[in-house]
């Protein structure tokens, strides 16, 4: 099993090298003619207005929050799914309780407007 992950590690390292390779190539062969206008930030050809980094709405945070909770729920479902067929009927009722409680969470988030974009 460790050998499997050794392969994955080699894949990641060699892969990172292969992705960096074109970047090295362009660093070597690309033309360079830097003048100030070229380094300006793009905003449809007009000078930029204000900073790009400004404070954003809380709705992004709410979405990622609900996502984290449901992601954790899903990781509990993975081992359950693997053993489900070889377990007895009790497994069905277990997961029913689990999912009903989490569905309550989804309904709460829905009703409280955490899932609204505007």
């Amino acid at each position: 099993m460790l050998l499997d992950w050794g392969y994955v590690a080699v894949f990641a390292i060699v892969g990172a090298g292969m992705v960096v390779l074109p970047l090295l190539i362009i660093w070597l062969i690309s033309p360079r003619s830097n003048y100030p206008q070229k380094l300006e930030t793009y905003e449809s050809g007009v000078p930029t207005i204000g900073q790009a980094w400004s404070q954003f709405n809380v709705r992004y945070y709410l979405f990622s929050l609900v996502f984290v909770v449901f992601d954790v729920e899903i990781i509990y479902l993975y081992p359950w799914a693997v053993v489900y067929r070889s377990a007895g009927p009790i497994a069905f009722y277990d997961i029913l309780i689990f999912l009903v409680i989490l569905a309550l969470g989804l309904i709460y988030a829905w009703r409280k407007g955490a899932l609204e974009w505007v």
Partner: protein
């Protein structure tokens, strides 16, 4: 098991290096992004401990979900503007002394303890085995976790929505 030893030291070195970046970088977004290699290092350590399911969920949750959450939160605050926060103040030397004392204590503790060596291979923490424990001895914990998740979801929504 020379390969495992090499892997462990490489992972530990990478984690420590990026951990230093997380703690000392004046740009908070850099700190958050440098957390990702630390999480991936933890993944590697889990794999070395034969816990590949936990490693998978470590990547899925920490590197995938929690990093996104942290980055969104940073963008909501003034740190997202690239503001450089000074990392040192007048308590620097005292902090360093405390940290050094703690490190010395831990080092002495680790080297002077008679660690018992368990024999044989590591147990298999496969998804099947974990699933069996969920449906068997740890059933109540499994159901209890759903309640914990529900409570945390409700609590976080209440806190976040109140600021509107």
């Amino acid at each position: 098991m020379i390969g495992e030893a090499i892997a462990f030291y490489l992972l530990a070195a990478a984690m420590l290096g990026f951990g230093v970046v997380v703690v000392t970088s004046p740009n908070i977004v850099h700190s958050a992004v440098a957390l990702v290699p630390v999480f991936l290092g933890v993944t590697g350590l889990y794999i070395l401990l034969n816990a590949e399911f936990v490693a998978g969920i470590q990547v899925l949750i920490y590197a995938g979900a929690i990093t996104v959450l942290i980055l969104f939160v940073i963008m909501l605050t003034v740190g997202g503007t690239g503001l450089r926060i000074p990392e040192r103040n007048e308590q620097g030397p005292i902090g360093f002394a405390v940290a050094a004392a703690l490190a010395a204590m831990l080092a002495i503790g680790v080297t002077h303890t008679a660690w018992g060596r368990g024999g044989g291979a590591l147990p298999a923490y496969t998804p099947g085995a974990i699933g069996q424990s969920f449906l068997g001895p740890n059933l109540l914990v499994f159901e209890g976790t759903s309640v914990v998740l529900l409570v945390s979801l409700i609590g976080a929504i209440i806190i976040a929505r109140k600021e509107e």
